[in-house]
């Protein structure tokens, strides 16, 4: 955890220097000083948006609650209550914000604003200040319908997180997963925090290993509706479903880009990984090795593919460079390494190891094989890691409470907690990129 803080400090300094506008750069050293003394989190004062009128006050309340729970979920922030008289009157400018009071309570950033009604729409105007310089670092207006208060709040949270960390946020992302709650294993989808769950398949047989395309337009999964496992690709806008019309079995898809999904197919006898287009047609074969080749996961540029192979006997993770055609073994620790997931930042691969005692644990490793790190231990089976859009969190399956359930943790293994309170078993989660 301590390492995590130090890394975070360093990352934050770099981000602050690289990404924040010139006006903030001069204060990079100050941020670091605060970071080392504090909890390792960004200390933020978030004021409830100012509002006049009963309806607007209700909106302000809801926007505040959604923003707070959203920012809290990320684990990046320490939200402290506003000191008395922090802000001036409604529609305030920076001159009327009491930065001295904010500094004295240790706040690094202050966010506040106002919500009004314009032609029936909700209009939220937000401002974010760095409290040391007292300068605005974000000013933005968010407009939407009254029924969209949650997504309006999350749009602000997304901008705030992206500004302060330089990484995509969880807001607007989805998690797809498998649940047996209906008596059959079917695919479900929910928001990053478990809200808005809906059932995506009704095969009444088996539907497994769901994964969304980078643009969120297509859902790929394996189902047994035809009596054998086949790759299905569902167009989420049109509702049309395509299958790969080849004999044999299909296992565990992973998207390379919006235009190609890779999966294991066996129509030529041996199990090999192929690239398939969203219309179900075959693009090309990418592996050629006797035995199991499985579970493709691509680097963000689509040029490299991590996968599982039994070519050296027990299952290990390999990386195939699609440009040179060369394959390199990545994992040497442990004798049963499967389920690779390439981080959206491109630097790390998460995977699971089955230990000799039957425990399954999640590890991360740099793509060059360095910096192996164990994220779970002593809690039965922990599997199917999948990264958040910013690479700072991981969703996974754990049987630590008996049945398999979905959990999240930060990228260093901290803050492990349940994602969903849902009956039955949940498994094989896959986190989408942030969907616009």
């Amino acid at each position: 955890m301590r390492y995590c803080k130090e890394i975070f400090s360093g990352v934050f300094l770099v981000m602050a220097l690289l990404l924040l506008p010139g006006q903030v750069q001069a204060n990079g050293d100050d941020y670091i000083a605060i970071r080392k003394e504090g909890s390792g989190k960004i200390v933020l004062v978030l004021s409830k948006p100012a509002a006049s009128g009963g309806k607007e006050s209700g909106w302000a309340e809801r926007l505040d609650v959604e923003s707070r729970s959203g920012l809290d979920f990320t684990g990046l922030f320490s939200l402290i209550p506003p000191p008395l008289n922090v802000a001036g009157p409604r529609g305030s400018s920076s001159q009327s914000i009491n930065f001295g009071a904010l500094n004295s309570v240790g706040a690094e950033f202050y966010a506040g604003g106002a919500v009004v009604q314009k032609s029936g729409n909700v209009v939220l105007s937000m401002e974010v200040y760095d409290t040391l310089g007292g300068r605005p670092i974000l000013r933005k207006t968010y407009t939407g319908k009254e029924s969209d208060l949650r997504s309006i709040a999350h749009a602000f949270c997304a901008d705030l997180v992206e500004l302060l960390t330089g990484r995509p946020s969880v807001f607007g992302s989805k998690v797809v997963f498998v649940s047996n709650r209906s008596g059959f294993k079917e695919i479900y989808m929910c928001d990053y925090d478990g809200h808005g769950m809906r059932q995506m398949t009704n095969t009444r047989s088996l539907a497994l290993t769901p994964v969304l395309s980078p643009d969120g337009q297509h859902l790929a999964y394996t189902d047994y509706a035809s009596g054998r496992p086949r790759l299905s690709i569902l167009d989420l806008a049109g509702g049309k479903r395509r299958s790969v019309a080849r004999s044999g079995n299909s296992i565990d898809p992973g998207w390379r880009s919006n235009a190609e999904v890779a999966t294991t197919l066996s129509f030529q006898g041996d199990q090999e990984i192929y690239l398939v287009r969203p219309d179900g047609s075959l693009a090309r074969r990418v592996t050629n090795s006797r035995g199991i080749d499985l579970s493709p996961s691509f680097s963000p540029d689509g040029n490299k593919m991590a996968f599982v192979s039994s070519r050296t006997s027990a299952p290990q993770i390999f990386i195939l460079d699609l440009q040179t055609g060369q394959t390199k073994r990545l994992t040497y620790n442990g004798s049963y390494n499967t389920q690779p997931s390439w981080s959206p930042q491109g630097d790390k691969i998460a995977y699971s190891t089955m230990e000799k005692n039957g425990e399954i644990n999640i590890f991360t490793i740099n793509t060059d094989g360095s910096s192996l790190r164990q994220l779970t231990s002593g809690s039965r089976q922990n599997e199917s890691p999948s990264w958040s859009p910013g690479g700072d969190m991981i969703v996974f399956t754990s049987s630590r409470q008996g049945q398999k359930k979905l959990f999240v943790m930060n990228a260093a293994g901290g803050g492990q907690r349940r994602l969903l309170q849902l009956e039955g078993e949940q498994m094989q989660p896959s986190w989408s990129l942030r969907l616009k």
Binding site: L208, R228, S310, T338, G358, M427
Partner: protein, 148 residues
């Protein structure tokens, strides 16, 4: 169905324990039990952990299955590959398919036409025996033969 599976379990254990390999004929669930010395009957075969290779006892059974196929030349079978619950489910899906294909390949080598056999993997999704112990696991690592 459950009753037959239940009967099958102790039968397998006894046969396994005495090392008797010649007559390892697990009765097909839903089929009447075969007479002691009778015509060849279709039966399931079993595998070692994380392996898809054909064991000695499996070879005996596959020879019987091949004889059955040759006797009933109009019949087709589905060979289902199954795994125990250990390990990860995607890898078990792949392993289950290899188990089914190895069984098929063995029977092709004994002269059965490949087009009469289809393979499908269920990985760890459809276990035969409940329980998290070696007895259950041993029964769940199998190629299950089903008449089409």
């Amino acid at each position: 169905m459950f009753l037959l599976k239940g009967l099958c379990v102790p039968a397998m254990l006894v046969l396994g324990a005495c090392g008797c390999r010649t007559d390892v004929v697990a009765p097909e669930p839903g089929q009447p039990a075969p007479a002691p010395v009778a015509a060849p009957a279709l039966g399931d075969v079993f595998y070692d952990f994380d392996q898809a290779s054909i064991r000695m006892d499996a070879a005996e059974q596959l020879s019987q299955n091949a004889a059955w196929m040759q006797e009933k030349s109009s019949k087709r079978v589905v060979i289902e590959g199954h795994c125990d619950e250990r390990g990860t489910s995607e890898y078990n899906m792949a392993l289950g398919e290899r188990r089914a294909s190895m069984a098929k390949e063995y029977m092709v080598n004994l002269g059965v036409q490949p087009e009469r056999m289809t393979t499908v993997s269920y990985g760890e999704e459809r276990p035969f025996a409940a329980g998290s112990n070696e007895e259950a696991w041993a029964l769940n690592r199998r190629a299950h033969f089903v008449e089409e």
